[in-house]
């Protein structure tokens, strides 16, 4: 089993997770679309590694693989950034909730 097969199996697994979440209503359709594009791109480059060389030439890096790593890091960074802001938003909401409960409790007395 080569890296191609392993990558495809991983992609199918990862894609099924997000598809399942959308089906259950825990994720939006837009997220599914986003990840479908990402995983499709990853799968495509795994099957036709030559295509990354075109990207590499456009980007000015040596090998196709380098271009793929470049994009992978970019996507990872973006995901971390998104998660950071989602979490800080969640924390603000928890604080608001805690605060309103404290007010309610004080007004009861």
């Amino acid at each position: 089993m080569g890296i191609k097969t392993l990558t495809i199996i991983f992609i199918l697994f990862a894609w099924s997770r997000i598809a399942l979440r959308v089906k259950k209503g825990n994720a939006r359709m837009l997220e599914l679309l986003f990840w479908t594009i990402i995983w499709f791109a990853v799968g495509f480059t795994a099957i036709y590694p030559g295509t990354t060389d075109i990207m590499a030439r456009i980007l000015g890096v040596g090998r196709g693989f380098d271009a793929a790593v470049f994009f992978a890091i970019l996507i990872l960074l973006y995901s971390v950034y998104r998660i950071y802001f989602k979490i800080s938003l969640l924390q603000q909401e928890i604080t608001r909730l805690t605060r309103e409960l404290a007010f309610k409790d004080a007004e009861k007395k």
Binding site: F85, S88, T98, R99, L101, A102, A106
Partner: protein, 228 residues
């Protein structure tokens, strides 16, 4: 004029009672003094301790949300209940209650809308490593938010109602002190610093911020500076 003294308290069972006892009962130019203690999800008997004081308004967070969140709760409550001047005061006993009158004076005289009680205009009693740590945070506040204060981390502050309504607190944790300074600068609120004394006991030193925490505060200020 109605004054609200907001005291955020997290695991301060040893000191919160004596801090409440020590607060001034009357101040010239002030008609009424409301004391608001915010118990920030303490694990010890802080809440029981505060309940011994029926004259005090108790706001209790069910879970610990941090200094910024506790201050935000106290401030919002004070504004809702028509306070004209709002003071923040630490629960660890490091402030001198006599300084309250000093820091609200510029607001009463219409000279300022926000006052920070600076512990570093006369840093007597503060250990040298604290002075250095505070200096680092002041420099970070200057670089990131463009405003110089001698004590950006002070817990003793006073605001007019109008000024506090303009200040938007989003930080839940310790970086709130720098955020308040940033808001004062951004909203162009007229502010002054007044020297206050600091009572450093082994207890308040152990409770305060360590320098390593300061690095964390700078990091969060940095992220926030670009975040919005």
């Amino acid at each position: 004029m109605k004054l609200a003294i907001v005291i955020p308290a997290y695991n301060e069972e040893k000191t919160v009672g004596s801090v409440i006892d020590s607060l001034p009962k009357a101040i010239k130019g002030i008609r009424k003094i409301d004391v608001i203690v915010v118990n920030d999800g303490s694990n010890d008997d802080t809440l029981e301790e505060i309940k011994n004081y029926p004259q005090v308004t108790v706001l209790s967070h069910l879970i610990n949300r941090g200094l910024g969140a506790a201050l935000g709760t106290g401030f919002k409550y004070a504004i809702r209940h028509n306070a004209d001047i709002i003071v923040s005061f630490d629960a660890d006993g490091q402030h001198d209650p006599k300084d309250i009158e000093k820091i609200i004076k510029p607001i009463l005289n219409n000279k300022s809308e926000a006052v920070i009680g600076s512990r570093l205009m006369k840093p007597k009693g503060m250990p040298w490593y604290r002075v250095v740590g505070n200096l680092g945070l002041n420099l970070a506040t200057l670089v990131l938010f463009g405003i110089w204060t001698t004590d950006s981390q002070s817990g003793l502050r006073a605001f007019s109602r109008n000024a506090l309504q303009k200040i938007d607190i989003r930080s839940d944790r310790m970086e709130v002190s720098s955020e308040i300074v940033r808001e004062i600068s951004r909203k162009k609120i007229k502010f002054t610093e007044v020297p206050v004394s600091v009572i450093y006991s082994d207890y308040s030193l152990a409770k305060g911020q360590r320098n390593i925490n300061g690095i964390n505060i700078i990091l969060k200020m940095f992220l926030k500076g670009f975040g919005d």
